[in-house]
Symmetry: D3
Subunit: 151 residues, 6 copies
Amino acid sequence: MSLRIEHRIGKLAMQLALFEEEVEGESFPFALAEKSGYQFCKGKVGSMDAHKVVAAIETAAKKEQIIDGSFYRETHALYHAIIEAMQGVTRGQVQLGTVLRTVGLNFAIIRGKPYDNEREGEWIAVALYGTIGAPVRGLEHETLGLGINHI
Amino acid sequence: MSLRIEHRIGKLAMQLALFEEEVEGESFPFALAEKSGYQFCKGKVGSMDAHKVVAAIETAAKKEQIIDGSFYRETHALYHAIIEAMQGVTRGQVQLGTVLRTVGLNFAIIRGKPYDNEREGEWIAVALYGTIGAPVRGLEHETLGLGINHI
Amino acid sequence: MSLRIEHRIGKLAMQLALFEEEVEGESFPFALAEKSGYQFCKGKVGSMDAHKVVAAIETAAKKEQIIDGSFYRETHALYHAIIEAMQGVTRGQVQLGTVLRTVGLNFAIIRGKPYDNEREGEWIAVALYGTIGAPVRGLEHETLGLGINHI
Amino acid sequence: MSLRIEHRIGKLAMQLALFEEEVEGESFPFALAEKSGYQFCKGKVGSMDAHKVVAAIETAAKKEQIIDGSFYRETHALYHAIIEAMQGVTRGQVQLGTVLRTVGLNFAIIRGKPYDNEREGEWIAVALYGTIGAPVRGLEHETLGLGINHI
Amino acid sequence: MSLRIEHRIGKLAMQLALFEEEVEGESFPFALAEKSGYQFCKGKVGSMDAHKVVAAIETAAKKEQIIDGSFYRETHALYHAIIEAMQGVTRGQVQLGTVLRTVGLNFAIIRGKPYDNEREGEWIAVALYGTIGAPVRGLEHETLGLGINHI
Amino acid sequence: MSLRIEHRIGKLAMQLALFEEEVEGESFPFALAEKSGYQFCKGKVGSMDAHKVVAAIETAAKKEQIIDGSFYRETHALYHAIIEAMQGVTRGQVQLGTVLRTVGLNFAIIRGKPYDNEREGEWIAVALYGTIGAPVRGLEHETLGLGINHI
């Protein structure tokens, strides 16, 4: 692919979402630290409401200045990336509590220029990793999703 | 979560799908090698036909003896895991060429017992990572998906 | 419900689709025979192409004069009933061979007036019952669906 | 099909859901009574909330000991069977009140071994039959769905 | 197409929904006024709840006597036209607030006979036009949809 | 809405798609001609293949220089706008021939700056209007859709 290997924004976002500090021997995705051109942040959200997942990611992206929330353009790009990532998480219906299930998710957001050609400009990736299941502790399995959009 | 951290079958499957030998400095997902109880395989498939992606993964799973293809039960579990992973990849419609797009994907399949409680039995995870885009080289971005099912 | 119990068009359609002559001791849905006001037909179709399932049902409905194919109105009502029934059969994506699966279905079509109030007019029900699975004999389970529309 | 005719778990579940005691001359699905190997239960639920339909079926399945709710494995198998049945009922969006409609449903759950080959193990079927429509009595038509999963 | 050009019910409905009195120089869709055979009404609704959009359109249709709400038949035809129009508006999931977005919509409903052949009878069209976006003023873009059904 | 009334890109795109030269008394959408800042083109496509509809619109957009096809960024923005417009046209499944239906569509593509704030940059709108129905002349009704994306 014409994406520079070391610039794969989706792979980096997913690695960041998968990374857990508390896991012994796991190292922070090395590539990110080296790429000063990439902006990123990480967070957690747990909810039975899909709209709260969307809101948590949007809030983090604005607070960490990954996007400028005063523009609709950037909000629009991020929103579609979030919904696409949620489709991977929910696999069919972007619904949680309304079909009696809940999620606990790590999220990672990365913004940068993943293509060799400078004119391809900036893109945004939203990666989600965590668990989905019944609203009872332990009745759950892992789930993840990725959304990518030009910004 | 009640999943043993080192047994997270979905995370391991995704890490395996993300792993590329040709990337310098990238190490094979360490955890897998240590877990003799897990069966896994990895492969690649590129197609404009969603059914060829399904077939490639099913064929690999049977050939590598991850599932016993002579049982419907195991085929059924794998099929649903594949379709769920494809929903993450396609984000809305499990369609490729019929909506003028194509994929190039790494896939990883893992089978094992991810839960502490032995009686939860075996589960299967299918992870996909690669690119999706127009049927023109370079007009593509990354995509991924994960499906998990009891088997 | 305000549907006259003995006039439940959906239940009758499903019973008709479930009925198999070759099953010993199984009797033809009694209610239908007694309701001269209802028109109905029954058929079979097996395919990996969703459009062939649609075509088989439309053809039977016209040939058996359940609908008058020279009107768009009646074709439109039947088409939506078929697609709704197929959603029950396919559960998520109205796709068969494109996601590597095939169906073998009995279908039943009934037309009549199921409501007490004469002015509710005629309705059409399409019921499907059979198997869905991999394109390999035996790797399949049962599936069914029902579509109902005013006509 | 390789399903033993008398063991068709989906057909039996649907017949059970369709069966109404109050309908004169209607006999209880005979086959079920003869199959001591099958576990089953029946219930009713009416709601504008999809999650309440899911909850009612899960609760009945646990209370009637069709599944062992202390395992995630069994809960997971049942959950997917319920959602698949709801896709037949809702035909497109697993939504009720959020799109201003309500359901009144009979449900039947059956667990057993429908395949000749003993090694195919146990499967679970969830059948739904009732009405869907506006939240006004009488403004409704019939609907049904079936979900089948290995357990 | 065999629809009489001047009778295109969908086009007229959309033109009516697009029409804004406050826009200087914009004239009321001329064709409608001339067609005494067509019944129509227009209204506005803004909400984060999809069911409120459905309710607002149903209420207007009954109040303006476009449909006779005492029949299920007419309510059923209208309901499906509304949901189809909402699919154009929402493009993928008929969800608003549950995925953190809101709409402000003009709606137009037209009932009449758009086909040359008198026997094709009456049809109903529901057109929606407005904005969709985040629940923050200005973070929105235009959206529209059309649903057509026989009645 | 904060969209300048005379700059509503979606409304203009829809008006352009609705406009038919052959209809007596119908005037070309006036606003477009006055807005030298907007680029637009119009075309027609009829097919049973969804991918041919996508291809026809993409080809026109490139040939008429609405987008620069040598960039993935612009192709990506256009592709999503097309798929969103097709969701309005197909209302549920972005499928045509695979569910035995065909379309005949006018399409309009507009690119420009619809927001007062210059920094919101360029957006693209794809509007579709025509008929959908059985692959038999006359068995069809109108359909339309709109997709809008930042570019």
